[in-house]
């Protein structure tokens, strides 16, 4: 199935290079960006600092783009706003893009394959609790769910709820705990019940 796509990519590359619209260093630079720079550790730095620095958290929740810039994290020019959504013990936020695949990719990393799949895009706005459970996150019935559909160039990131067992951890240890999935909102970081999800049988629901 991938063979035609590779042939098409080769053809496009050949034609663009022939027109001097593309050079090898463009390909190398992009590869470097997606594999080295646009990584979830960027968002993890923002979240871990918000967990441990009250004034930074206030800035992050007020103007996420400026807070990210203050830590040396750039966003593409067309992402003019970063809205950070705080998860609590009672509220769970989850982000999606029903029309295509928009994400704050320079902050939380490139969108995972499933995020761009038709199933997630169609279903999460309408049956979030079921979709999250299928993905291993079984939320308590009392947890209120907020879904954010990325239909403009404003970008969203979930600030995960800090698990109680991490009191006293170093910032580095906290950063290592924070995953791309938790910043999209399809995972939480607490010990059970939220983490029970991760070990739930594959075929559940």
């Amino acid at each position: 199935m991938d063979q035609p796509l590779r042939a098409q990519a080769d053809a496009l590359e050949h034609l663009l290079k022939a027109k001097s619209l593309l050079h090898d260093n463009d390909l190398q630079a992009f590869h470097h960006q997606v594999t080295e720079q646009w990584q979830p550790r960027n968002g993890a730095r923002l979240c871990a600092r918000a967990w441990t620095d009250r004034s930074f958290k206030a800035q992050l929740l007020t103007d996420g783009r400026a807070a990210a810039a203050s830590m040396g994290l750039d966003m593409p020019e067309h992402h003019r706003s970063l809205v950070v959504l705080e998860n609590t013990a009672e509220v769970h936020n989850v982000i999606c893009c029903t029309l295509c695949s928009c994400t704050a990719f320079s902050i939380i990393g490139m969108a995972p394959g499933w995020y761009k799949d038709l199933e997630y895009r169609a279903r999460v706005v309408r049956e979030a609790r079921t979709v999250l459970a299928e993905m291993g996150l079984h939320l308590p019935q009392a947890m209120r769910i907020r879904v954010w559909d990325t239909t403009t160039d404003t970008r969203y990131m979930v600030l995960p709820y800090r698990p109680a067992h991490t009191q006293g951890w170093t910032v580095q240890a906290l950063e290592a705990l924070i995953t791309k999935e938790s910043m999209i909102g399809v995972a939480r970081l607490e010990q059970p019940p939220a983490n029970a999800a991760v070990t739930a049988p594959t075929g559940a629901a």
């Binding site: 990519a9 997606v34 706003s81 029309l99 995972p112 706005v125 907020r146 879904v147």
Partner: protein, 216 residues
């Protein structure tokens, strides 16, 4: 356009498959395609709205069956042909097989200059509009009411920008809808926030004014 890309709330889809499908890319060809897409945006061959619309213009059966980066490839190749970078015949020849491209664009539209004053907490209604070109209003909020919970800086107006038309930039508003209003008796309970361009909105209950309103 009411295309098959507008998936929010569509029924009949199966389980999301996160296991083994968490990586953004599945082959080096996909990374190259993404690199070429980004390179040509930066060069100004097309803007992001034109790119998105080129994806939406894919023949529906092709869109539904294609992988994510096949859709990216199709949009980039279509834009290159439409901009005259190379011809469809050159592309077919280089690929060694016919390459399906997106269907032609319909008309875009410029934004309204008269926009209501909208603030956080206002109840707003999404206009009941149907446009043949690019729009960033998911169909599931059309005609629905919600409450404004956030305001963004101005962005290019997609309905114009996606067609190369000049139009004033517009703010977007994060509008909060109740899933049970969007799909009565047909959704799980949640609050759904959608970024909505100013021009797609009208105030549901305009503030009382002492001035007489002109007759419609």
């Amino acid at each position: 356009m009411d295309g098959v890309h507008d998936l929010g709330g569509r029924q009949g889809f199966g389980t999301v498959q996160p296991r083994g499908h968490g990586e953004p890319f599945h082959s080096e060809a996909e990374i190259r395609i993404a690199a070429m897409w980004v390179r040509l945006v930066r060069q100004g061959l097309y803007n992001m709205d034109e790119y998105r619309h080129a994806v939406e213009r894919m023949e529906p059966r092709h869109y539904m069956a294609a992988s994510y980066y096949e859709r990216t490839f199709t949009a980039v190749a279509t834009m290159c042909v439409e901009r005259g970078v190379f011809s469809a015949q050159e592309l077919d020849s280089a690929a060694g097989a016919p390459v399906p491209l997106s269907r032609p664009s319909k008309a875009g539209r410029v934004g309204n200059l008269q926009l209501p004053d909208i603030r956080i907490g206002d109840r707003v209604r999404v206009k009941n509009e149907f446009v043949p070109g690019h729009i960033r209003m998911p169909g599931y909020i059309r005609g629905q009411t919600g409450v404004v919970v956030g305001i963004s800086p101005p962005y290019p107006f997609p309905d114009a920008h996606g067609h190369g038309l000049d139009s004033p930039w517009q703010r977007t508003f994060d509008v909060q809808f109740d899933s049970r209003d969007l799909w009565p008796d047909g959704a799980e309970e949640a609050l759904v926030q959608v970024g909505v361009f100013h021009g797609y909105l009208m105030l549901e209950r305009p503030p009382c004014s002492s001035e007489p309103q002109p007759a419609a």
